[in-house]
Amino acid sequence: MRQPLLISFIISCLCAWANNSPEPAGYTREQLDSIERVFNLNEIVITGTRTPKALKDVPVPTRLITEADLRQIDATNIQDLLQQEIPGVEFTYAMGQQINMNLSGFSGQGILILLDGERLAGETLENTDFSRLDLNGISRVEIIRGAASALYGSNATGGVINLISKEADKPLRLNVNARAADHHEWRGGAQLGIQYQKVNNMAEISHSRISTYTVCLDTKDQCDFRNVYGHRTWNVRDRLIYRPVDNVAITARAGYYFKERLYNVDTPDRYRDFSAGLRGEWTINPSNVVEASYAFDQYDKSDLIRESGLDVRDYSNVQNTVRAMYTHIFPGQNMLSVGVDLTRDYLLTYQFVEGETHHQYTADAFLQYDHHIDSHWEAVGAVRWDYFSDGADNQLTAKLNLRYNTGLFTMRGGYSGGFRAPTLKEKYMMYNMADVFEVHGNPDLKAEKSHNFNLYGEYTVNSYYFAVGANYSSIHNRITTSGMRYGNGAEPYLDYLNVKRLKVVGVEATVRARWGWGLSASLSYNYTHEQCPDATANQYCPARPHALNFRGGWTWNWSKSYRTDLSVSGRFLSQVSYMSMYMYAPFEEKPVTNPAYTLWKVQLQQHIIDRFHVSVAVDNVFNYGPAVYSYNAPVTMGASLQVGLSIDIL
C-alpha cells in the first residue's frame, strides 16, 4: 500500500510545481508547433486509447517509433528494432533455442503483441513467433508500458506492442529491397501500393534466410547454446481498403507466413500462419463512429521428415474473433467508447494427450471515457469485463490515466490493471518429453493479475526533449512451471502452477536533441528491478537492472539528388545475477551471474535521387564476443558487415 500512496504524493507535488511554472515565455504557437514536429509529438497514435490521438495528448505513456525512425534504424527484424530503440529490451534463448522477450521485467507472456490492433495466434514457450512480425510493410510501432487489460484483455500485464501497417500514399508505389550479411544471411522484399479513387491496396512479399553457424567453438566450454540454427522465412500480405463513400471504410486483409528452421537437419520444424480479416468503419456523423470487424488467425507447426518426405502437423491454434465498437464524441472532444469482442480459441497440440483438442470462447465488453477536464488536464478511464468459457472464469479490470500539459511540459500518470488468463495449453498439457519426464497442465490455474502504477514527465525546449518516468507493478499468481516432482506415475514431471506475488519497478530517462547541420542524438536509460521468481526448470533470465541506449545521427543533403545519413548506435546492458537450477533431484539452486556487455553499430545510408537507397553497416564494431554463450548472451561472434539496397521503382 505504501507505493501507491508514494506515487500519489509525487503526482501531487509535480502537479503543484507544474501549475506554478510560468507559461513558456518567448515562444510563439508556430515555434511550439515546430518543436512538436521535430520530436514527432503531433504524430497520431492509437494504441493507448483505441482511438486516434496526437502523441503529445495521449494520457497513456506511449513510445512511438515512426516510419522515419524505421528507415533510419534500418533494423534487420523486430528484435533488432526494439533492442536498438528501447532500453531494457532483451531477447534471450529458451529451450529448443526458442526466443523469449524481456521488456523491463516482463517476459513475452506479459507483453501483448498486436498487428494492426489484432492479436496473433500461436505461441512457443509463451512467446509470439517474432519472425512473423516482418518490418517490410510496417509504418510505425507503438509501445505502451504497463498493464493495458482494461482495453485489450488477457496478456497485457506488462505492456502492448502494436505494429501498424503502411497504406499506399500515392497512385502507384513499387519498392524492391535486399540485404545481405554474415552467415549467408539474406533478406529480400517488395511492396506494391496502389491508390486509385476509392481503393487503397498495399501488397508485400518478403523472404529471408540464414545458415546454421557455430558460436561456441571450444567444445569444453560450458555454453547454453553452441549453434545458431539456420532458417528461411516467407511472408506475404495484402491489405485492401475500399471507401465506397466518404464516411465508410471497409478493410480486407489476408496474409501467409512460412518459416522452416533447421534445429534438426533431418526433421526441420516448420511454422505457418494463415490470417485474414474484414473490418468496417462507419462515421455516421462527426460525433458517432461505429466499427465492426472479423479476424481469423491460424498458426500451425509441423515437422518435415526428410527421409519419408512427410510434413506432419502437430500444432494448430485457430482464433476467430468478431468485434464491435462504438465511439461517441461529446462537445469538448470528450469521448465515450464501448465495445464487445467474441473469440473462439481452438488448440491442437502434440503436448496434449494424443488426438485431444480443446477450444473455448472468450467474450468481453469494455467502456472507456476520455474527458478533457480543462485546457491542461485530460483523464481517461476504462473498465472491462472478460469471460472465459473454459472454467467459466471472469475477470474485471480497470484503468485511470491522467495527462497534464502546459506548452512545454507534459505529465502522464495513472493506474492500470492487467491479467493473463491461463491458456488451454497450460491447463490441459500432458506432454511426455522423450520418455524422460512429463509436463502436466493444471486445470485449476488462476489468472495472473497485475496492478501497474506509472508516472512520466516530459519537457521540450528548443532542440531538446527530456523525459523521465517510473513505474511499479505488483503481479499476483504468475503462471510458471514447477521444479521436478516425483509422483506415483511412470515418469517424474513438471507442472504448471501459480507463484506468489512478485514486483517489478522501473525507472526511465531519455534525452533527445536535434541541432542544425542535420545532427541529432538520443540517450535513454532504463533501470529495472525484477523480483525474481524461485529457480525452476525454465531457462528464465530476468531483466538486467541497468540498460543504456545511444543513437547519434548526421543527415546531410549534398545536393538535390544526393543525401547521406550516418548513424552510430550503441547499447549497454549491465550484469545480472539470479538463482538458477543446479540440482534437479533434490532440487537445488545456484547463483548465476551473466556479465555486462555493450554493442555498437555504425551505419551509412546513401540516398540517390530519392530512389536508390544504399546501406552499409558494421554491427558490433568493437568486436565483442561473449566469453560464455549463456541464454542471455548476445548472439554475436564479433564485428559483422551488412549491406542493403532499396529501390523505389515507382
Binding site: 561456441c216 567444445t219 465506397p244 465492426a292 521428415i305 468478431v322 481452438y346
Partner: protein, 249 residues
Amino acid sequence: MTLNSLRIFLIMAIAGALSSCDGIFSDIYDPAPDDDAFEQGIITRSDSPGRYTLMLDARSYNEWHFIHLSDLSITTVAIPDSLSGEWDGRSGWSYHLVEGTKYTPLSSRKTDPQPEPDEWDFALHHFDVRTNGGAALATTYTAFSELPATSASFPADDFQSDVWTNNQVITDLEGMMAYHIGYQNSYANLVLSDWVTMDFSNPPPTYSATGKVYLMRLADGTVAAMLLRNYMSNAGTKGFLTIEIKYPY
C-alpha cells in the same frame, strides 16, 4: 450504398467465422504415420546375397539389443539398475555434469554386470554400438556401391577396438535440463557410436548423422559393412534404426 456495404460486410464476416472454426488447409499436411507400424527384424535382401536390412526399435535408454549375424537374431536385454549380489568392481551407473565435452562426475551407483546372450556379434543401445571383441573404422564413403571390392583395402591398424566408458551409454536423461546425465559403465565402440550425434546442450536434443559407411571387424576376422540409413521412424520418432549391412565384406 452505406447499408448495402455494411450488409455485405456482415455476411462475409459471418460466413468466414462459421467456415473456419477449427482451421483451414489441413490437407496440405500428411497424416502422422503410426510408430506401431515399424516392423523390427533383420530382412535378407533376396536381390543381393550378403545384404541385410536391420530394423530395430532402439528408443529405450535402458536396453541393449544384441545382434548375431550368423542366425540373424536380435536379443534384447535390460540394463541392470541395481546390485543383487557381489559387485564386480566396475559395473554401475555414473552421473556426470556435462558441459560441452567436459564431464564432471557427480555420483555413481553399483549394479550387476550387463547380461549378454551366448552368441552375438555387436549390440545397439539407442545410437551406441559395442562389438563382441571386434573393432571398427569409419570410411569416407556414403554408399556400399562406392566401396572397394574387398575390405582388405583398409589397413587393419585403422580399426579401433571397444573401450570401457562411463560417459557414453546414456541410461538416465531425467536431469537433462540441468545437464546431469546418467551413464552405464560399459564397453562401447566410439567409432561406430559416432554415427549419430545427439547434442543436448540446449534441450530438447538435436541429432545429426554422419551418413558414412562403417566397417566392423568381428572377433573371427570377418568384416561387415554397415550404413545407418535412418535413425527415426516415418513419424520422425528418434531411436528407430534402419541399418544396411553387407556381410561378409
